[in-house]
């Protein structure tokens, strides 16, 4: 958050501050990511004292002030609240250091085709059994390279949030990857329309 806030400041587009004992910039990320996840589709809500006259220029300027790799694609005035985000398309690369096989791919697909995909999920009330299946649309697994498998899925982004690592947790030990990394592709509303 500090990185984002300072980048606006550096780019010459200072954010609006809350009015209180300890003023802080009004800036929030719609779907905060866990550590290690990358993304093409983050939505950031923020307020400014003065509206920039040229939103495209503002997007370019803030991008230039951001650490390499972070890009502001578009700045626009919101019409829909971010609570309307429902689905999230993700892509995962799963590493299997001992190599992959047709059998592995078939087994992985079987795991996700079951009627329930139950894993223990940490919640505020402690660990609880959680069924991912109802909060999952489309899930496909296919070979990516000799040691990597590509997984694509559409998962519930909020209410409840499905962390893609839960899907890895659901894989039984013998087929569980040695390492996995996830990338967010797109956000959608309830009806699978792209959210903006």
């Amino acid at each position: 958050m500090r990185t984002l806030q300072r980048s606006f400041q550096r780019a010459g587009y200072p954010l609006k501050y809350s009015e209180g004992f300890n003023p802080h910039p009004l800036l929030s990320v719609a779907l905060p990511m866990s550590v290690g996840i990358s993304s093409d589709c983050e939505i950031l809500d923020f307020k400014m004292d003065e509206a920039p006259s040229d939103l495209e220029l503002a997007a370019r300027s803030v991008t230039n002030a951001l650490p390499e790799g972070l890009v502001i694609h578009e700045i626009y005035y919101p019409e829909v609240k971010v609570t309307a985000i429902k689905w999230l398309k993700i892509e995962g690369i799963l590493d299997f250091d001992d190599g992959i096989s047709d059998e592995l791919i078939a087994n992985l697909n079987d795991v996700f085709r079951q009627d329930t995909i139950e894993v223990m999920k940490k919640t505020k009330k402690g660990e609880q059994l959680f069924d991912c299946k109802p909060h999952l649309k489309e899930l496909a697994v296919q070979p990516h390279s000799d040691q990597k498998v590509k997984m694509t899925a559409v998962i519930s982004a909020q209410n409840p949030t499905v962390n893609p690592n839960l899907l890895i947790k659901a894989i039984p030990d013998p087929w569980r990857p040695d390492f996995s990394r996830f990338h967010r592709i797109e956000v959608y509303d309830e009806e699978m329309n792209i959210f903006r």
Partner: protein
């Protein structure tokens, strides 16, 4: 990124410490580089990235086009273990390259408790620990920073130390190394030549010889090397390079703000304070230049806070113009300004009025001694009246948090002095009752004590540290004397202070102890999470070394001290004179009232005047 690192980053706390990639990091093409420098900070990323010296020297070294200086910090325990398990050597943040192939491993050492971390980083880099085991010219292991005014405990591990300020001498050294590398000099030839550069101490050229009593008999100087080695300073702070585009961390660090250095040195001369002596002579930066740099830094970083750094900010000659200039910029932008190191004696309503306009922080005063007599003895020129006056202004201005810092075990301290601390806390509480604007909010007064550590190059360098048991007795005396419920008493444990006292006045015989502690898992010893008193004691006893010889022994006036090989500017006889004044409870006037001819001005070039 190395895929092995990518994997372990998922398992460790705060992975952003280990990735690099921050805004303003310096990336160079390594094919066009003659020297690669690993700038190693023997503590965590959050501490190292908060260090202004590191930020300055990173930029000055990188200003040389043939040098690429990269940052390296000590990984926290989880990462260190994960790296060892995955057989990943210590790497530099900018390139991700292992630092064992670098030409220079440069350590910035600000405090003695970091010594074992230096060894650990060398080991993680897969570089032999001792200078004598590294036969080739590179990697050259060098150290600098305030702990290096007595580099003796780590002398066997480093090839050379920078004594004093590094802005200029570092680059002179690198120029020489470039030549030496091109002309294939031996390491010996390089070190001997480097020792002629003002501010460079090559320990292998000075051999301590101990007498039967265990005291230092003499220091044997080899190969006609300079003796003593004179501290290097920057003559004009306004002329030296100062980075206005510092690396901006992506993760939260300790000092997450713009730092502006107002001046170096201190006019006060508190007798316990090493910094007050080793940073002399006094040189200040002009306020208009500071305002300019402050604005540029705030614009370039996007930080929302700015801190004014110095040993005694109230003594900065152009404080008012500086504050006015900065506040004109900061206030409309909600940028907070903080002034640590304000003195209670000349803390004015005006300053407080100005800084509270943006954000109100707590008040902290380093009172150090509990009675006027003791404060006179240590030359801490703060009176109870000054302190209470300041508190009065603060309380009526709406402040309601006051922290008072003291040391226990200062020379000449009596039980009466200690009880004086409790009395002062009561007086502050009374002052709040009389002056507070809004009593419903309550008041919080915190008393903190730590165990006094005698430091080299301070007038108390000959003093004994009180024993740990004596410290505990004094703590409980004070604890029982503090009765008011609004007053909290916090004390530091004496164990770390004891080890620090051993190391700060240590000699080369402690090298084995350091290696033993490191070998048995001692690293990041400045952190309570890792500090192990038992391990240190085990190491001392393993080598038959009595730690109290270093910590609790009073030195004679004529004793040769291990750090006599270094000339920091202030003369030994001046320090002794100050010590004698302590025992007479006599104050010395500050440098502005009367120059004490301490000797530091000798370091200035002709035409330069101390504190001008």
């Amino acid at each position: 990124m190395d895929s092995r690192i990518e994997r372990i980053l998922m398992q460790v706390e705060k992975p952003a410490r280990y990735t690099g990639g921050e805004v303003n990091q310096i990336i160079k093409n390594k094919d066009n580089i003659d020297l690669r420098v690993a700038f190693c900070f023997p503590d965590t990323y959050e501490i190292g990235m908060s260090n202004l010296g590191m930020s300055i020297l990173y930029h000055t070294m990188n200003s040389l086009d043939y040098v690429w200086c990269e940052r390296v910090f000590a990984p926290w325990g989880d990462m260190a273990k994960a790296m060892t398990d995955a057989q990943i050597p210590l790497y530099a943040l900018e390139s991700g390259d292992p630092i064992s192939d670098f030409d220079v491993l440069a350590f910035s050492i600000g405090y003695e408790m970091a010594y074992t971390t230096v060894l650990d980083m060398l080991s993680m880099a897969r570089v032999p620990l001792r200078s004598s085991e590294r036969k080739d010219l590179t990697p050259l292991v060098i150290a600098g920073g305030s702990a290096c005014v007595n580099a003796e405990p780590i002398a066997d591990f480093i090839d050379l130390a920078i004594i004093g300020e590094g802005e200029e001498v570092n680059n002179e050294l690198l120029a020489l190394l470039k030549q030496a590398k091109q002309e294939r000099w031996s390491k010996e030839r390089f070190l001997r030549t480097a020792s002629d550069i003002h501010g460079i101490y090559v320990p292998s050229l000075y051999v301590p010889v101990y007498g039967k009593d265990g005291l230092l008999d003499h220091i044997e100087v080899k190969d006609g090397a300079v003796y003593p080695v004179k501290k290097r300073i920057v003559q004009d702070l306004d002329q030296v390079d100062f980075p206005v585009e510092p690396v901006i961390p992506t993760t939260e660090i300790v000092q997450d703000r713009v730092s502006l250095e107002l001046f170096r040195g201190c006019v006060r001369g508190c007798r316990f304070c090493q910094a007050g002596y080793i940073y002399r002579p006094i040189r200040m930066k002009k306020s208009d230049r500071l305002i300019q740099q402050g604005k540029e830094l705030l614009e370039n970083t996007g930080y929302q806070d700015c801190t004014l750094l110095s040993l005694s900010t109230s003594d900065y000659r152009e404080l008012m113009p500086l504050l006015n200039g900065l506040l004109d910029y900061c206030e409309p932008r909600s940028i907070g300004l903080s002034l640590p190191s304000l003195r209670a004696d000349n803390f004015s309503m005006d300053i407080m009025d100005r800084i509270q306009r943006v954000r109100k922080s707590g008040l902290t005063f380093a009172v150090e001694g509990g009675s006027q007599r003791l404060r006179d003895a240590i030359n801490k020129n703060v009176t109870e009246e000054d302190l209470l006056n300041t508190c009065k202004i603060a309380f009526s201005g709406g402040w309601n948090t006051v922290k008072l810092y003291y040391m226990l075990g200062l020379p000449t301290e009596t039980d009466e002095d200690i009880l004086g601390i409790a009395q002062m806390a009561n007086a502050v509480l009374h002052c709040w009752r009389e002056n507070a604007k809004n009593k419903n909010r309550g008041v919080k007064i915190t008393i903190s004590t730590s165990c006094f550590i005698p430091k080299p190059f301070s007038p108390f360098q000959w003093e004994q540290q009180i024993t740990m048991n004596e410290y505990r007795r004094r703590v409980s005396l004070l604890k029982n004397a503090i009765t008011a419920k609004n007053v909290t008493y916090k004390w530091h444990d004496p164990e770390t202070s004891f080890i620090e006292a051993v190391l700060s006045r240590g000699d080369r015989r402690l090298a084995d102890v350091l290696e033993y502690v490191w070998k048995h898992g001692g690293r990041l010893e400045a952190w309570e999470d890792y500090f192990s008193y038992e391990l240190w004691m085990e190491a001392f006893s393993h080598f038959g070394i009595d730690p109290s010889f270093y910590a609790n022994r009073e030195r004679e006036a004529d004793e040769i001290l291990p750090w006599d090989v270094i000339d920091v500017g202030v003369l030994k006889k001046h320090l002794w004179h100050e010590r004698e004044l302590c025992y007479q409870s006599t104050l010395s006037p500050d440098c502005r009232k009367q120059c004490s001819a301490c000797g530091a001005a000798r370091l200035l070039k002709k035409g330069c005047v101390c504190d001008s």
